[in-house]
Structure formats: structure tokens, C-alpha cells
């Protein structure tokens, strides 16, 4: 018994000594530390598209830039300011450590996601710049030399959609996303299906050979309507039917996929990859559409890893600015199962010019439907601070 007590005491002391010897978390100074985090909401002059540019400064003289979107940009700015103290002095390169810090700051996943995404882009920009390589190179090296792209068209009836299509085609796109027009009346009847189909056929004719279409339902349909629409379009060979129904009903997803072979895509409202795992688990998704402004590059890549094992590709959702485009292209270039990148078509030439001015480069000039990869170190963006002021969001 005495021997037992002695060994207990010895081991207790040893344990305490061992604990004391162990360094406390995060006391080691990082090689490159975060020194500031700034935000700048901007707005495109013609179309009014709004996004928030986030910059992360470091003590190595390297600054990273990221971007996100928000329906309440000023609130986003406040949230970033509240999170900033947690990031100051922290490792500017450890993506996952920063992710954990932001996750511990409180708020829902949906609230945190835009900030996670923007910081993720900025830290990867820093990693690339420190490594003197493009982000895709730092991540995995190129899996492709160019990225297929599609333009989200504007308009609610045929004439405006045609005009938007012509602009997109002239800009070099060969694939187009058409926003679904919901009828005014309460009944959706047969004409809803026949007119929608006829519209897409007219747009296809106008677009010419070798072009493709995505139909964006904007989560406006019920499960049965979506299944009916998916069936109606089976021989049209849409690339996929986008966001047919709201993501609140697992049964709805299953129904659509069970009834039809038209591929289905979801993701703009999924801020956590668990949502994609569930859709894949239910055999209810054919293409993952994570929003680059919610997932950033790293979570997009993780979602893609999951999808790869289901023989499913990713096509990141993107309705933001040129830094989001850069981030999306770096993700695309480093992934084996990327398929196509959504690019928000600027409303007119003023907005095209603004995006180019802001980023210091034009990444949105497809050649025969494919975008070249960004060049240069990091994201390949040279952020124009004057443009941040010039295009600052006015109240």
C-alpha cells in the first residue's frame, strides 16, 4: 500500500512538472504576424453590385487581399472590426489556425462565413506572395491551364435576356446562366413549363453552336414543380438546374433527383460543408455550388474533395467582385474536379472598367469560353487603393 502511495505521489509531481514544461498555446511568436485587418465596401457604378474588400497587413511588408459579399455591408464591417483583436499578432499564414480563431469569436456559422471567406483569401494571398508563387501553385500546382466559365445573364424577359446574352457572347463566354422567370399569376400551369422551355431554346439558337446553359431557379419552386421542370428539360441538356428549391426540405431534394436525370446544383446558401455532405449522402446533388464569398478558397477545396469521391464536380457560385474571381480561379486551377466558374456579368462597360481598375488586372476575359489562370504571386491582384475610395459604397 505504501509503495502504491509513493508511486502515486512521484507520478503526480512528474505530471505537474511535465505540465509546467509544456509551452502554453500560441506563445511562440509567428514567423509572419498579422498587424492589421481593414475593410472597404465598394459598389459598381452602373449595376450597383456591392462587395467588401478585406485587407490583411503583416509585419513582413506583405498585404493580403480578400473579398466577400453581404446584403448588409456596414454590419459586416462592424463584425470584422469586432473580430480583428483576435487576429492581431497571430500567424498570417496558418489558414486553419485563423479559421479556428474566427470560429471562436461567436455568432452563427452563417454570420461568420463571409468573414472566414475573405480572411481565407487574404491569407492565401499572403502565402503566395511569401512563397513567390501563384496561390494555385502554393496549394497543389495547376491541374489545368485554363478554367471554363459561364456568365450569369441579366433580364426578366426575352429581349433583355437576349441583349445580355449577346454581351456575354461578345465578351467571350460560351456558357450562360439564365434566371428563371416566375409567372405573375398564382397558377403556374402548363404554360410555365412550355414557355420556359421555348425561351431557353430561343436563347440557345441566339447563342449558336457549342454553347451551354444553366437555368437558375433561385430556390423559387416547390419540390413537385422543380421535379416537373427538371423532367421537361431532360433532353435540352442543361448543364444543370440550379437551386431549384429552398434548402429546408431534404425530401424536396430527394424527389427532384429521384424523378429526373437533369443534373441539379445547390450551394449558394450552404455556409458549412456538412450541408454538401448531406446532399451527397442523399444522392441529391450533381454539382456543388459553394459561394466563394462564403467558403473562401480552402472550404471550396474541402467541399471538392468530398465531391470527388461521389464523382461530382464543383462550380463555385460567385456574384461578387474581381478579387472573388481571382480566388475562384485559384481554387479551380488547383482542383481535379472543378468544372466551370460562374462570373457575374457586369451591367455595362463602366462596371467592367471598375473591376479592372480595382484589381489592377482583367481576369474576366474568356477566350472561347475559358478563362486564363491568374498570373503573378499570390492571388495575382494589385489592389488599387484609389479605386477603393473612388467606388466606396455611399449610404
Amino acid at each position: 500500500m505504501a509503495q502504491h502511495s509513493r508511486s502515486r505521489l512521484t507520478s503526480k509531481r512528474s505530471r505537474l512538472a511535465a505540465l509546467a514544461a509544456r509551452p502554453a498555446p500560441n506563445t511562440q511568436k509567428p514567423q509572419v504576424a498579422i498587424t492589421d485587418v481593414t475593410t472597404a465596401p465598394v459598389q459598381e457604378p452602373a449595376g450597383g453590385r456591392t462587395y467588401v474588400i478585406v485587407q490583411v497587413k503583416t509585419d513582413a511588408g506583405v498585404t493580403g487581399v480578400g473579398e466577400t459579399t453581404s446584403s448588409q455591408p456596414r454590419l459586416l464591417v462592424q463584425r470584422v472590426d469586432a473580430i480583428k483583436p483576435r487576429l492581431m499578432g497571430q500567424d498570417a499564414v496558418s489558414i486553419e489556425a485563423a479559421r479556428r480563431l474566427i470560429a471562436q469569436s461567436g455568432g452563427s456559422i452563417a454570420e461568420q462565413a463571409p468573414i472566414q471567406a475573405a480572411i481565407n483569401m487574404a491569407l492565401l494571398d499572403i502565402l503566395g506572395k511569401l512563397s513567390k508563387a501563384p496561390v494555385y501553385e502554393a496549394l497543389r500546382g495547376a491541374t489545368r491551364q485554363k478554367a471554363r466559365a459561364f456568365a450569369h445573364l441579366h433580364g426578366s424577359e426575352e429581349s433583355s435576356l437576349r441583349a445580355s446574352l449577346q454581351r456575354a457572347k461578345a465578351a467571350g463566354y460560351r456558357a450562360f446562366q439564365v434566371p428563371l422567370k416566375m409567372p405573375d399569376g398564382p397558377t403556374r400551369g402548363r404554360s410555365f413549363y412550355t414557355e420556359t422551355y421555348a425561351l431557353l431554346e430561343k436563347l440557345r439558337t441566339a447563342a449558336g453552336d457549342g454553347t451551354d446553359f444553366v437555368l437558375d431557379c433561385g430556390a423559387q419552386l416547390s419540390a413537385a414543380e422543380a421535379a416537373g421542370l427538371a423532367i421537361a428539360f431532360e433532353r435540352f441538356h442543361l448543364l444543370w438546374l440550379e437551386e431549384p428549391t429552398a434548402e429546408i426540405n431534404g425530401g424536396a431534394f430527394r424527389k427532384i433527383s429521384a424523378e429526373s436525370v437533369t443534373p441539379v446544383g445547390y450551394g449558394r446558401n450552404i455556409a458549412d460543408n456538412a450541408g454538401f455532405q448531406d446532399l451527397l449522402r442523399m444522392d441529391s446533388i450533381d454539382i456543388l455550388r459553394p459561394d466563394v464569398a462564403r467558403s473562401g478558397v480552402s472550404e471550396v477545396r474541402k467541399a471538392a474533395s468530398l465531391a470527388e469521391t461521389y464523382y461530382v464536380a464543383i462550380a463555385p457560385f460567385h456574384r461578387g467582385g474581381p478579387i472573388g474571381t481571382a480566388a475562384a480561379l485559384h481554387a479551380a486551377a488547383s482542383l481535379p474536379n472543378f468544372f466551370i466558374q460562374e462570373i457575374p456579368l457586369p451591367a455595362d462597360d463602366r462596371d467592367v472598367a471598375m473591376r479592372r481598375e480595382l484589381a489592377g488586372v482583367d481576369l474576366e476575359k474568356p477566350q472561347d469560353g475559358f478563362l486564363p489562370l491568374p498570373a503573378g504571386h499570390g492571388l495575382g491582384i494589385t489592389l488599387n487603393e484609389d479605386a477603393l475610395r473612388k467606388y466606396a459604397l455611399r449610404s
Partner: protein, 440 residues
């Protein structure tokens, strides 16, 4: 059948390259369009853009450190025209010759090409093999993949964990040794040493071999063994128990349920790996966390386990699952489902050190194995001799992370010359009392 023309992937952005038709259709009526069985032309070597690094050689070494062993190491060395070299490990017990040959079979995928395209090469090695997966291909790919990561880290001047998003914990990577104790007294000694060294976890096994239905004596002996582990190691040390796929779901479930009060960290491979549903018959009937994965190749093979919620912990081995590229994907896939990773590492120093990079960058990592005892033995001293530091020895319960670029170590061919390859023997063959085949 549409075929995509492959155009060289060594070209960076801005360079349009030869714009082959996006959808090249086979000539009407041609046999090759129907079945793909006409011989394919060997694709020309990838056109390298100017200034890109090029692989000049790929060497594979069998390394025998112990006579008549089933586990000589298989190391892969890749050399480039800039003088940057990378090392990887492709050790596969009982199959060294086959793996070494497979690495040689993959020579054209790598030599003459751009070493930075690690994902691209992984895809090509795996998919263009046609017959996918299997541990021999997986291990060959693993060795090459690790060496390519070593190179890319050195070229980018970053430790590999920084390219993967780490380090999450600057203390390093939490680890466990094997208890290797047969008696209660030996276990108490292990505990005492652990407490001095700050080690917080150990793994052990269950005795003997098992039939698909087992006797009362056999089950009691297994349970007693595990009770002794907890008694000897104490309540505050985490204990993993490796069933080594010896047991059937029927037998494993009985033992797992009976040892729930011991609060084990995990029970590993409670049945063989081929049948995911069979493993679910165990995990659904016990609260002991169930772990498996060392024999799985590529992220694809983990899908069902994650999708069906069958295990708590995946233990893929970097030398078989397919290197850093594949192990990272397993962690990424597991994370949204709350599944953790605790990679297996029971081979050489290179794969083990490579695993630490993935561990340090994976939020759902919990603990890293090394098949060593709490007291270093011959193998550990040899690794230190080769690498110049005590590889895979913990400090305060954590494997330290190197801050050097790449995988973080240097190894010379010269140091391996004293341990030339002497072939391999198969893994142990064990039999039941009646002479029928058993698993160990």
C-alpha cells in the same frame, strides 16, 4: 464517345498553348471509339513552360535494417534540374519488390515533367492506372507524392504544413507510443515514464487469434487484458486498443460492449475492412469510439464509412492511402461529419514525418501513432543516425514540427548504403488450433 485531347499542364496562366479541339470526336465507325481497346498513342511529354522545374530522375531504394524482415523500407527519391531533391516512402509489408517495381512503372509520369503539379500527377497515376486503388499502387503513389511535396515545399521555401494551412497547434502534433507491456507491473512502469515525459496516450492490442464465434475463455481473456491496461496506465492516460481485424463483428461487439466502462480512446479495426456494413454492426452497438483505415487506399475508399456514419476515427496511413495529397483529402472529407483522423504509422521515418504535416493542418486531427515504445530502441537510434535528429520521438507528448522547408529533413543516399535491400518475406502467417487460416 467524346474524348478530350490532353494539352500539356506545365503551362502557367496567360499562355494559350496549342488549342486542341475541346471535344474531339472519334472518326465515325472507328473501333477505338467503341471500346477504347485500340492501342492508345503514348502522349508526348508535357510541354514545359520556360523556367519551370523539371524532374531529372526518380530512384527507388529498398532498405533492409533487419534480416529476414517482412518490412524493409521502400524510399523514393526524386531529383530535379535545379538540384532540389525530395524523399518519400512507399513501404508496404510483404510486398517491397512489387511496390518498387510499381514505382518504376510510374517513371514516365514523373521524370521529365514538372514536379510542382502534385495533384495533377496524383490524378494521372491513379486514374490512368485504369485498375484503380489497391495497396501496391497506393503505396507507390504515396512514395512519389511525398517526394513531390518535399520538393514543392523546398521550392516555395515553406514547410509542407504551411502549404496545407497549418500549424494549428504550435506545440506540435499530439502522439502515442505502443505500450508494449505484458504485465500490470510493466504497464505501471510505462505510466511512470509517460508521466515524466508528458506523454498522454498509448496503444495496445488483444491477445491471440479469434474465430468468427469465440469461446467464453477467449472473450474473458480479451476483456481482462483491456481491464489491466486501464488499471496499469491509469485514468488520465488515453488508451487505444488495436483488434487488428482479428475479430468478427459478432465477437468484437461483445468485447466492445463489455469494456465500455473503461472509456477507451478507441478500438481499432474491430473487423476486417472489406465490408463497411459489417463494421456498422459493431459501432451501432457500442459507445466505444471505433477506428479503422490503415488498409484503405485513396479518399474514395473512405466515403462509405463517413457517409454512413460507421466510424468515429479514420486511421489512414500516408504510405498506403496515397501520400499527403490523399491523406489531406481524407481529413477534409471527414470533417463535416464530425469524424476525426488519427493516422496509422508503423513503417519508416519518412512517411511518419510526412504525416505530421497533414496532422498539423487538419482541424479534426486527434492523435498520431508511431509504432515505437516509450523507450527508444534500435530502429529509433537508426532513424536518428540517418536524419540527424530523434525522428518521431515526442517532446512533452507532442511530435515537434520542423521549421525547415519541405518535409523538414535531409537524407543522403550514402547513409542508406549500409542497409542494402535484401528482399522481403511475406507477413506472418498464423493458423488456428485446427489448422485453418487465422488473422493476426
Amino acid at each position: 464517345m467524346n474524348r478530350r485531347q490532353f494539352v500539356g499542364a506545365g503551362v502557367l496562366g496567360g499562355l494559350a498553348g496549342a488549342m486542341a479541339p475541346r471535344r474531339a470526336r472519334a472518326a465515325a465507325g472507328s473501333v477505338s471509339a467503341e471500346c477504347g481497346c485500340a492501342p492508345m498513342m503514348v502522349p508526348p511529354p508535357l510541354p514545359l513552360a520556360p523556367g519551370r522545374l523539371k524532374v531529372t530522375d526518380m530512384k527507388v531504394f529498398g532498405v533492409t535494417i533487419e534480416k529476414n524482415s517482412d518490412r524493409p523500407y521502400v524510399f523514393v527519391k526524386i531529383e530535379t534540374d535545379a538540384g532540389v531533391i525530395g524523399w518519400g516512402e512507399a513501404t508496404l509489408e510483404g510486398k517491397a519488390g512489387a511496390v518498387m517495381q510499381t514505382v518504376q512503372d510510374l517513371r514516365d509520369f514523373i521524370v521529365g515533367n514538372d514536379p510542382m503539379l502534385v495533384e495533377h500527377h496524383w490524378q494521372s497515376m491513379y486514374i490512368h492506372a485504369f485498375y484503380r486503388a489497391g495497396p501496391i499502387l497506393g503505396s507507390a503513389i504515396a512514395g512519389i507524392d511525398q517526394a513531390l511535396w518535399d520538393i514543392r515545399g523546398k521550392v516555395l521555401n515553406q514547410p509542407v504544413y504551411r502549404l496545407l494551412g497549418g500549424p494549428i497547434d504550435p506545440r506540435g502534433v499530439r502522439g502515442y507510443y505502443h505500450a508494449r507491456a505484458r504485465t500490470l507491473e510493466e504497464l505501471r512502469q510505462v505510466r511512470a515514464t509517460a508521466k515524466e515525459l508528458g506523454i498522454t496516450a498509448f496503444k495496445s492490442g488483444i491477445p491471440g487469434y479469434y474465430e468468427w464465434i469465440e469461446t467464453n475463455d477467449s472473450i474473458r481473456a480479451a476483456v481482462k487484458q483491456l481491464e489491466m491496461l486501464r488499471e496499469g496506465l491509469g485514468d488520465d492516460i488515453d488508451i487505444g486498443v488495436d483488434f487488428h481485424a482479428k475479430t468478427s463483428p459478432s465477437v468484437a461487439a461483445i468485447i466492445c460492449k463489455e469494456v465500455e466502462p473503461l472509456n477507451l480512446m478507441f478500438i481499432e479495426e474491430p473487423c476486417p475492412p472489406e465490408n463497411a456494413k459489417a463494421m456498422a454492426r459493431i459501432s451501432s452497438r457500442t459507445t466505444v469510439p471505433i477506428a479503422t483505415g490503415e488498409r484503405l487506399v485513396a479518399a474514395y475508399s473512405c466515403r462509405e464509412l463517413i457517409e454512413q456514419g460507421i466510424v468515429d476515427i479514420l486511421q489512414c496511413d500516408i504510405n498506403h492511402v496515397g501520400g499527403i495529397t490523399a491523406l489531406w483529402k481524407v481529413g477534409a472529407m471527414a470533417e463535416p461529419s464530425g469524424v476525426m483522423i488519427a493516422p496509422h504509422a508503423c513503417e519508416g521515418p519518412i512517411g511518419s514525418l510526412a504525416t505530421l504535416h497533414v496532422d498539423a493542418s487538419t482541424p479534426n486531427f486527434i492523435v498520431q501513432e508511431i509504432c515505437s515504445g516509450v523507450v527508444p530502441a534500435m530502429k529509433e537510434k537508426l532513424w536518428e543516425e540517418w536524419l540527424g535528429f530523434p525522428a518521431m520521438r515526442m517532446v512533452n507528448g507532442y511530435f515537434p514540427l520542423s521549421d525547415k522547408p519541405g518535409l523538414g529533413f535531409e537524407l543522403s543516399e550514402e547513409s542508406l548504403k549500409k542497409y542494402p535491400f535484401e528482399g522481403t518475406i511475406p507477413m506472418a502467417r498464423v493458423f488456428h488450433e485446427d489448422g485453418s487460416v487465422a488473422a493476426w
